[in-house]
Amino acid sequence: MKENQRRIFLKAITSIPILGGAVMAASALIRYFKPTTVGGVKGLVAPPDEAGSSVQIVAALSELTQPWDFKEFIYIRKSVEYSSRKIQGAKIPGFVVRLPDEFTDPKDPKSRFVVVQRICPHLGCTFNFVKSPEELSGGYNYKPPMPTHPYFACPCHLSVYDPTRKTEVNLQGPLPGKVVSGPAPRPPRTMSFDIKDGQILITGTEGGGVG
């Protein structure tokens, strides 16, 4: 009995370095599969690399004069590519929507526009700007209250966002696009923008999500 216990103890002791080696090998393997520019063990827990963003003109104010005028655009977000090219451009689709005056702050010209990324924060599909209530209730399972207005609606899991209303998001303050139907956990991701010389410029995008 005692003999047996001693053997078990010795086996347990020798298994420690073996297990340690296995863990190290596994971490090296994960490190091989996970592309980052952060070196060493730190790279295991580092978030994805975000490369710098650039300022891009996406719309002119003359295109968005009437309430509920909108424009789809593509913003090129640069990110790191793990090849000899070093950098790749990920296309981030976006929406700029002109709100009717009753939803805006007359002192703040930026509040007339809602600028969001078209990537659904639920599971990453590209959502649409839906104007007709019939389409909303037929295709997206949401019956808007009357009198109605257009909504953002995602075809994958039928989340519907109300561009006129805001929701408080952790660390970011109120964001436009309150979820009124479907499983989305938060309003669409935002883009920071400026209005200059009658044009709308995108200056940066909120990270996270899959492009």
């Binding site: 216990q5 599969f33 980052t36 978030p47 639920h122 075809p155 899991h157 499983p183 899959v210």
Partner: protein, 524 residues
């Protein structure tokens, strides 16, 4: 409880040896493709599933290797290379490319169907008992690997469905970084970026692009080949026959798949376009139920549950401790299987017809889940009463039933009344006044907006039970907490009482053994 402690310590000290023995026993008994069931396979077609599964796997690998010759794994050429394979590669009137592709695609579908049927056969006949646990675990793992292989495979076509399915699949794990702050250790897990790391490992970057196609190509190949290599090594070392079916059966399976490939040439869809998501957009058939499940849940919960489902199945397998394998003698586990099948079929039907309502449907599913378990339990209770000749209260598992009832009621309450603002009498009285005022400024104001105003400006009304509702805290969280506390209480009391019984039984066994040993010692 106290009496159990020395037995627990003794058990833990011997744990490595016990585990090794347990493992070796199951490792030798393991049957990956029913290879030892040749006799049964002759009379019972359910036991040919394993052999057919292996055969279909071989067909898929072979046709896949042939397809590799012409496939180009680059985003802007992939779709066209498939088109060329489908249409241009012919021999006289024979569309070889289309047939090989059909064989690969429908073979993969057959793989999933056979694997699922086999898992169900093992579940319903209790085949995982008597030391066959590993066979079942590996069958389930291979089914999951097969589904994942399907997912990585159909992105290679680079069509719309594949692109969006991949996007959904890759966004999934990012929710693992959004553990709520009140969860112990939640912030630490968020800090390690496990979810984003997983997504990055899958995609080879932060978005679906050329790196993703290369990776998926590699994964698709690896997932098929590596398990096969291990199986072949086992065959080599033990020298058994791989398939328990006749050559005619193999030919029939091949013929059926080929016939389908001729009748319905494999579809290709439209080329992937990251800027447009078509409506409706659906995944491959075996993910449809899962896809519907996503609609009914908060995404964080959905992610956790999706990862948890296979583990729950495996866990419940280990709970089935009785040796009985007959249908009528293990009703709880039968009902778990039947329930899973029903959800799979009904969810697939619902998503194909676009029926989903988060507030109306989800509680129905929770409720039916509890109903299946309760139905199974009641039948099982009746069986145990008959078997052991006992009175009804002697075999009634109050903790199990309480656990099901608490889960059912709490989930239902949460979904129907999670928005407890409607319950609040003061808030109800106040809301129309606020709404009228808001409507003066904004004709489109809704009751919801009035509630929001009240929440912000009249915290004393306590619209959410507590005034601590912060951003990111879902509504009705209090109900969830009550629910979790009740669960923990039930589980803890069950453990305490169960351990107490176990300790007393062990002690009695030991004393009986001593009493037996003593007279013999005296006699010697």
């Amino acid at each position: 409880m106290v009496k159990a402690i020395p037995y627990l310590i003794r058990g833990l000290a011997g744990a490595p040896g016990t585990f090794l023995k347990w493992f070796q026993e199951r490792w030798t008994k393991m049957e990956l493709f029913d290879e030892g069931r040749t006799q049964q396979a002759r009379t019972n077609p359910w036991y040919t599933l394993g052999g057919m599964w292996y055969w279909v796997w071989m067909l898929v690998i072979l046709s896949g290797v042939v397809l590799m010759v012409y496939y180009v794994p680059v985003t802007d050429q992939a779709y066209h290379s498939i088109e060329r394979i489908q249409h241009n590669w012919r021999w006289g009137p024979l569309p070889i490319g289309s047939l090989v592709r059909g064989l690969h695609k429908y073979g993969a579908d057959a793989f999933i169907i056979l694997a699922t049927l086999r898992v169900y056969r093992m579940w319903f006949t209790g085949e995982y008992k008597q030391g066959n646990e590993f066979t079942f675990i590996i069958a389930l793992l291979l089914l999951i690997i097969g589904m994942y292989s399907g997912l990585t495979g159909y992105l290679l076509i680079w069509n719309q469905r594949a692109l969006w399915a991949t996007k959904v699949m890759a966004t999934f794990p990012t929710y693992l970084d959004q553990n709520p702050g009140w969860l112990p250790g939640g912030d630490f897990i968020n800090w390690t970026n496990q979810g984003k790391t997983t997504a990055q490992i899958l995609l080879g970057g932060t978005s679906i692009g050329p790196a993703t196609v290369t990776r998926f190509y590699a994964f698709h190949f690896m997932l098929s080949f590596i398990p096969m290599i291990f199986f072949e090594l086992r065959v080599y070392r033990r020298g058994f026959k791989r398939m328990n079916i006749s050559h005619w059966a193999k030919l029939a399976v091949f013929g059926v798949i080929l016939a389908i490939a001729i009748m319905i040439p494999a579809a290709q869809g439209s080329p992937a376009n990251p800027e447009v998501t078509p409506n409706p957009i659906l995944s491959d058939w075996y993910f449809l139920a899962m896809y519907h499940f996503l609609k009914l849940q908060d995404p964080y919960l959905a992610t956790v549950l999706t990862v948890a489902i296979p583990f729950l199945v495996l866990g419940s397998m280990f709970l089935d401790r009785r040796p009985e394998r007959e249908w009528g003698k293990r009703q709880i586990f039968n009902w778990i299987g039947i329930g899973g099948l029903i959800y799979f079929i009904v969810f697939s039907f619902l998503i194909l017809n676009g029926i989903a309502d988060l507030h109306r449907d989800a509680p129905l599913w929770y409720f039916s889940m509890g109903g299946f378990l309760l139905a199974g339990y009641l039948q099982d209770w009746a069986y145990v009463m008959r078997r052991d000749q006992k009175r009804w209260w002697e075999t009634f598992h109050i903790f199990f039933v309480a656990f099901i009832l608490v889960s059912m009621s709490a989930n239902t309450l949460y979904h129907y009344f999670g928005d407890i603002r409607e319950w609040n009498v003061l808030g109800q009285a106040e809301m129309p006044k606020v709404l009228a005022r808001l409507q003066q400024a904004n004709p489109l104001a809704t009751p919801d907006m009035a509630f929001e105003w009240l929440e912000k400006n009249r915290p004393a009304l306590n619209l959410w039970f507590t005034s601590k509702k912060g951003p990111g805290k879902p509504p009705g969280m209090e109900l969830w907490l009550v629910h979790v506390v009740a669960w923990l209480g039930i589980i803890a009391s069950g453990i305490v009482i169960g351990l107490g019984r176990w300790g007393r039984r062990k002690e009695a066994e030991e004393q009986a053994a001593l009493a037996k040993a003593k007279p013999r010692a005296a006699g010697a």
